[in-house]
């Protein structure tokens, strides 16, 4: 009986060919896994963000491989990569670029900043003041920059991976809500467990040059990403699940423990990322499981706790868990 049913399981053939996408994702996981031990959820969310065309904010204590993972990601994708270390004295022109006078041609020419790359790693993003943070608003949302009345479009794919340390408060600035909303995911990077810690030590010990990323191969091209994004856009979303997503986001606005609820951009983000996550599982439709998986990283930086709940020691993650559990899964 079981065998017969097992054979039947293959009968639902995917309506969209996701084989190539799934193979590519598996190769990305393998390449990153050569250096980063564990953190599979972070890696999956990063891949999901790339496929859903969104920026990522990585938050975690120092030394949990945030920057390393972002660098590895740039290695596995054949695309331009730039890194900006955010500091308190960093100016918007240092990031975006500036117009300089060319004495030879006696003309002003635009000198592009590091933001003009396919993958931009912004390390310690919360160390720059609001003025520099605001310079990122346009490029994060509209994928373009306007300098001296001239608009410059970014090359696709365009991904900002920012890191921040939640513990350190000295010399840091809280990111504006408008900017946080522009990040598709805020991924909390946890410490590895005991076995993973042992594997990290063993790997580090056996490698001759632990910081060498030369053995990492590029497995994704810009064209691949563009094709996969188009494929993902066409995946099936059941009407009941659209309502389920809307209810979750709506609940963040009604919940008395939350001072600020999530925006409609969050609803769209949940749907898009759930589609991308279902695609990397090889499925051409989303399930409530996918929605629950992406809900926390999409919502945690878009909601604000009430001061009372913050003082009680509650976290946004706990409130999101509670409100998602409250909403009936459509069946």
């Amino acid at each position: 009986m079981s065998k017969e049913i097992q054979n039947d399981k293959a009968e639902f053939q995917s309506r969209v060919d996701l084989t190539d996408l799934k193979n590519s994702v598996d190769r990305v996981r393998t390449e990153i896994g050569k250096v980063v031990v564990g953190q599979s959820q972070m890696v999956d969310l990063l891949i999901t963000a790339i496929l859903a065309d969104g920026h990522v904010l990585l938050e975690g204590a120092p030394g949990v491989a945030k920057t390393l993972t972002a660098k590895l990601l740039s290695k596995v994708i054949t695309a331009n990569f730039a890194r900006v270390q955010f500091t308190p004295d960093l100016m918007p022109s240092d990031v975006l670029g500036t117009t300089v006078f060319n004495a030879k041609s006696t003309e002003f020419t635009f000198k592009a900043g590091p933001i003009f790359s396919n993958i931009v790693l912004i390390d310690e993003i919360n160390r720059a003041p609001a003025k520099t943070q605001s310079a990122l608003f346009e490029v994060m949302e509209e994928r373009q920059i306007t300098v001296d009345g001239q608009t410059y479009a970014m090359d696709e794919p365009y991904l900002i991976v920012a890191t921040q340390n939640p513990i350190e408060q000295e010399g840091t600035y809280r990111l504006p809500e408008a900017q946080l909303d522009r990040f598709l995911f805020k991924i909390s990077v946890d410490y590895p467990n005991l076995n993973e810690e042992i594997s990290i030590l063993q790997g580090h010990h056996s490698r001759k040059a632990p910081h060498d990323l030369g053995n990492i191969s590029s497995v994704l091209t810009k064209e691949n990403i563009k094709t996969y994004r188009e494929t993902i856009h066409g995946l099936h979303v059941d009407e009941n699940l659209v309502q389920y997503i809307a209810k979750i986001v709506h609940e963040t606005r009604e919940n008395p423990d939350l001072f600020l609820g999530a925006s409609p951009r969050a609803s769209i983000a949940i749907m898009q990322t759930a589609k991308a996550y279902s695609a990397i599982q090889g499925r051409d439709f989303i399930t409530p499981e996918d929605i629950k998986f992406v809900a926390k990283p999409v919502l945690r930086h878009r909601v604000i706790l009430t001061p009372e709940k913050e003082m009680e020691g509650l976290t946004t993650d706990q409130i999101i868990d509670q409100l998602v559990e409250k909403i009936e899964v459509p069946r």
């Binding site: 049913i5 099936h236 059941d238 009941n240 989303i286 499981e289 899964v329």
Partner: protein, 245 residues
């Protein structure tokens, strides 16, 4: 030699300038000490005693008494509302028609309060008869513990609604698991969360297959043939036998 002569000439010029400045200052001082006295005759004016008496007689100028303000808009509204309620109360207590109205309102309030306290869905109470098995019901108001699955599945098969029939089979399997206390039923849990709660391997594996069919047909909107449905139905019947007695 020429330089000395130039210096002497400049010194002479400076001394002359200082002398002129001093003379002009002295002239200014002597000019400012002239005083003009006002010698015009002052005419003394008296208050009009008749006018003062008139003002004293006027109440508006009596500041010792506190003014009595008129009724504000809010006070007038309260007064009007009070009179209206008094009239209604009189009608409700003193006339037979009024008494009937009051009793009806009180009964409705009490019934509404009881329904709210016991969380009774009034629509379900009235629609629990023969037409409850209609397939286009609102799926969000279902309670798996109240549903007659045998009848609903039979009706779905008769109408060849195999997608809905698979969904009902899956909901029935959840009810069985909940009744046998193998899962802790909560509407907010996902299928995989329920699967993780099942400890018995074979039961879990076959429930996983039922979940697979349900997800592909319900969320994935895959078409189901009669043969495919029969397989799922057989699996469900086989799975039910694996449940603890």
């Amino acid at each position: 030699m020429l330089l000395e002569a130039h210096l002497i000439l400049r010194m002479k010029k400076s001394i002359t300038s200082l002398f002129i400045l001093l003379c002009s200052s002295l002239y200014g001082f002597s000019d400012s000490i002239a005083i003009n006295y006002d010698s015009s005759i002052i005419e003394l004016r008296q208050f009009d005693q008749a006018k003062i008496s008139e003002y004293k007689a006027d109440d508006n100028f009596e500041y010792g008494n506190r003014p009595v303000p008129g009724m504000s808009l809010w006070e007038r509204f309260k007064l009007w509302l009070g009179r209206l309620l008094n009239r209604l109360f009189y009608m409700g207590t003193e006339t037979p028609f009024g008494k009937i109205i009051v009793y009806i309102i009180l009964t409705v309030i009490i019934i509404y309060a009881l329904l709210k306290i016991f969380k009774v869905d009034i629509r379900r109470t009235f629609y629990s008869g023969s037409d409850r098995g209609v397939m286009d019901y609102d799926v969000h108001h279902e309670n798996i513990h109240d549903m007659d699955f045998d009848r609903l599945i039979k009706e779905a098969i008769e109408k060849k609604e195999y997608r809905n029939a698979i969904r009902l089979i899956y909901l029935a399997s959840l009810k069985h698991l909940s009744d046998h206390q193998l899962i802790h039923w909560q509407p907010g849990k996902t299928n995989h969360e329920y699967m993780d709660e099942i400890s018995e391997d074979k039961l879990k594996s076959n429930f996983g297959k039922l979940s697979y069919y349900f997800e592909y047909t319900w969320y994935g909107d895959f078409a189901v043939s009669e043969g495919q449905f029969q397989n799922v139905n057989d699996l469900f019947n086989h799975w039910k036998k694996q449940l603890p007695k």
